[in-house]
Amino acid sequence: MKTAEEIFKILKDKFGDAVIELKTGVPVESYMTVDPLKIDEVCLFLRDEPELKFDNCMNLSGVDDANGKKEAQPDGTSNIVGGTLSVVYHLESVYLKHKLTLKVSTPRDNPQVKSVAEIWRSADWNEREAYDLFGINFINHPDLRRILMPYDWEAGYPLRKDYKNPEFYQGMKVPY
Amino acid sequence: MMYDFFLDLFGNEILAAIVTGVTPLLFILLFVLFAVWLERKVSAHMQDRLGPMRTGWHGWLQTIADLLKLIQKEDISASANDKPLFNLAPILVFAGSYAAFAAIPFSSYFIGSNLDLGIFFIIGISGLVVAGILMAGWASNNKYSLLGAMRAAAQIISYEIPTILVVLTVVMITRTLNLHTLSEMQTGYIWNWMIFGGPGTGLEKFLLIPLMFIGFLVIYTSTLAEVNRTPFDIPEAESELVSGYHTEYSGMKFAMFFLAEYANMYAVSAIVSALFLGGYQSPIGYLGNLIGVSWLVPIEQFFWFTAKGAFFVFVQMWLRWTLPRLRVDQLMALCWKYLIPIAFVNLIIVGLITVL
């Protein structure tokens, strides 16, 4: 059983700049920020290191940070330009009973995160969901395609804060 | 016999033949009306429910209401169906099970056709059912239907083997294929029934009793599988194959399958009771003989035969609402690994006993 500070120290020694910072003091849980293109290495280490042994990825969620510049559109809505999208990983060790929250942030215009689906298979569908709803591209994901939305949905990513419903989907009126 | 009776009555051979042929149909229809209602009530009471209660006393008119609904329904057939086969299949299936009734002796007078090869004819003509089911599955152009039809064909053909082996066992003892003669041999009292060793006497009879019990169990299990009832209702397993080979059928064509299923249930029950339980013979003697009214005897026989058949149909329902369903490979294993060897050994031992 290790605290977030101890784990952060271990990771910092091992990966250096890839592990960016540990945010503590925020209610209710502290989290660690990691480089999105190194997250797979960090996660593999977290899983296989005997004293950490994070063998379960409880949850993986995409987040639209909505911290970019808002550009007003002629129709009264606004688009968000710039800023970041994030992915939050909640890890847990079933045997050592400690938990860890990781966070990666990636630019909104070209969101790229290394996939951890090969490390924890539970991340497979969750990453597909994050791709489906936020448009985050998970590099090296075995089967990245839409999961909740129709496969031919072309109106963007619904959980982004500036998402606008299309008027028609396949000739059918959407806001019926 | 019935044909001669009607020939005397009408004096016209064609009319007599038609009436003789229609009587079992009448019986089937009435029986199915009753059996469908019974199935609903049996299942309902087993499951702490009431079942149909609104249509007539305890819902006894429910089947008629269902029938009216089915007649009114649109006859749907998808554009990808193979039309001629699709239309022919339900008729063939029903024809197969209806034809089997020709040789079933309902009483010493009520028998459609007193064939010398009665039981042989029944087993042969039931083969039409397989052809009809395969046709239905293929012509529906639906993968579920096809899977169901394939399973049905495999299952029915496999389970015919233990059935025939047990039939042969009985035939070796009685030396006749005629069901009427077979029933007549078991006359008298309950201990003359084949399940209690048949009409013979002495050591041979006592040796036969356990073997006959085994034979009875084997044939009852395998006939259960032949009519696709739970635990062998794999061809129409609704949780896997929606409803198997008749998924695509609606209205009267579906009703034909339904009719055939219930007719088959009665047919196999009738065969089992004719072979093992004295057919139409009463277990306790006849009231007609006792009071000297000879025309009462066939009516009593008809009652006993129907009662025995209905009892076995009830057992089939009982099993259906109690047991889960086997998987297709387990079903085949049961047939080929257990029933057929048991039936074979049984056949050989009975053969030795009858020869010695």
């Binding site: 569908w125 | 702490d48 949780s239 889960p324």
Partner: protein, 383 residues
């Protein structure tokens, strides 16, 4: 539109000439809703299963961003509609943790009683429909008969039978009905022999064992790697229950066991084990209910409900043991009255991901047995 299709990851249906592709669902009697399974068959043997979900997607997460915190509660009901109390419970736990408030004892006890009753009701549906999938219709109706009594208890408490809106952030919508305690005790005494009846009718039935033992074996390491939780994980042999391992509410005050699969009739982690764990869990839930009824404190159930819920900027991941597994709520707050992001870690969604591994090499009929033992609710898978 800013959407660009990534060509390399476009979905292509897998069709091979020698294999038959059977489309099971979304309208199928035993996919438990609108799940679609694309099966690749070789004869009757399954070579691959591709689940397609999303037919019941109702944008819960998007809705939640537009609602205030208390308004989200009725929406959580509609995710796992067979365990609505559990969903509300999890949401309340998460928001209360984010707000840092304590709720009165009585509220916690009532919540536990409701959640455990809901667990029994949910397991009854799972076990009953599982029997129906295998072909035994009668246990299904027996289970529904008993579930009906639990639903009546809920109806007495909050007026609704399926979607309750009962457990609120900081409290409950109503106090218990005066008759509730007595009727719940009656139910507990009534229900104990019914479990035995179910065992006699279905659990130890030879055909049922044939169909479920050694089918769909899920090894423990695979289960953990796939994030499996709840009765499925315990069926694979791990004593893991959030009520004990990550205690929330007042569960630490009760004495109960965690049943695990032992491979009693087959291999550890087969369909029968998962089924059996659910049966045993119903007994454990009865134990908890009885203890909670004995200890039920007096008090006000609405006093701690905040007038205005406006959590500080932050995030929380709270999880509860729902009948189907670990139900987690990841809630991010930006200091407003409505949540910035609500992500639900739905147990059915994660558990369904393992279907392909479980099904390969089995027969079509086994798909039904395996899917039934995974026990999914499509409302939760798609949210």
């Amino acid at each position: 539109m800013s959407f660009e299709t990534n060509k390399s990851i476009e979905y292509k249906p897998v069709v091979k000439t020698e294999h038959m592709v059977l489309n099971m669902g979304p309208q199928h009697p035993s996919t438990h809703g609108v799940l679609r399974l694309e099966l690749e068959l070789e004869g009757e043997i399954i070579t691959r299963v591709i689940p397609h979900i999303g037919y019941l997607h109702r944008c819960f997460e998007k809705h939640a961003e537009a609602m205030t915190y208390p308004q989200v509660v009725p929406y959580t009901d509609r995710m796992d509609y067979l365990a609505s109390m559990g969903n509300e419970f999890g949401y309340a736990v998460a928001v209360e943790r984010l707000l840092g408030i304590q709720v009165p004892e009585r509220v916690e006890y009532i919540r536990v009683i409701m959640a455990e009753l809901q667990r029994i009701a949910s397991h009854l549906v799972a076990l009953g429909t599982y029997g129906a999938d295998i072909g035994a219709m009668t246990p299904f109706l027996f289970c529904f008969r008993d579930r009906e009594m639990i639903l009546s208890l809920f109806e007495m408490t909050c007026g609704a039978r399926l979607l309750y809106n009962y457990i609120w952030v900081g409290g409950l919508s109503h106090d218990l009905h005066p008759d509730f305690v007595r009727k719940t005790r009656d139910f507990c005494t009534y229900f104990k022999p019914k479990i035995k009846e179910l065992n006699d009718l279905l659990t130890y039935n030879k055909i049922f064992i044939e169909r479920t033992a050694n089918v769909g074996v899920l090894p423990l390491d695979t289960a953990i790697n796939f994030g499996i939780s709840g009765p499925m994980l315990r069926g694979s042999g791990l004593k893991w229950d959030l009520r004990k391992d990550d205690p929330y509410s007042v569960y630490h005050k009760f004495d109960f066991n965690i049943p695990v699969g032992e491979g009693k009739v087959g291999t550890v982690g087969d369909c029968w084990d998962r089924y059996w764990v659910r049966v045993l869990e119903m007994e454990e839930s009865l134990k908890i209910i009885e203890q909670a009824l004995d200890q039920l404190p007096e008090g006000d159930v609405t006093s701690a409900i905040p007038k205005r819920i406006k959590p500080p900027i932050g995030q929380v991941y709270a999880r509860v043991e729902n009948p189907r597994g670990e139900l987690g709520y990841f809630i991010m707050s930006d200091g407003n009255v409505n949540p910035f992001r609500v992500k639900v870690r739905a147990p059915s969604f994660v558990n369904l991901g393992v279907m392909d591994v479980l099904c390969r090499g089995h027969m079509v009929a086994d798909i039904i047995a395996i899917l039934g033992s995974v026990d999914i609710v499509l409302g939760e898978v798609d949210r």
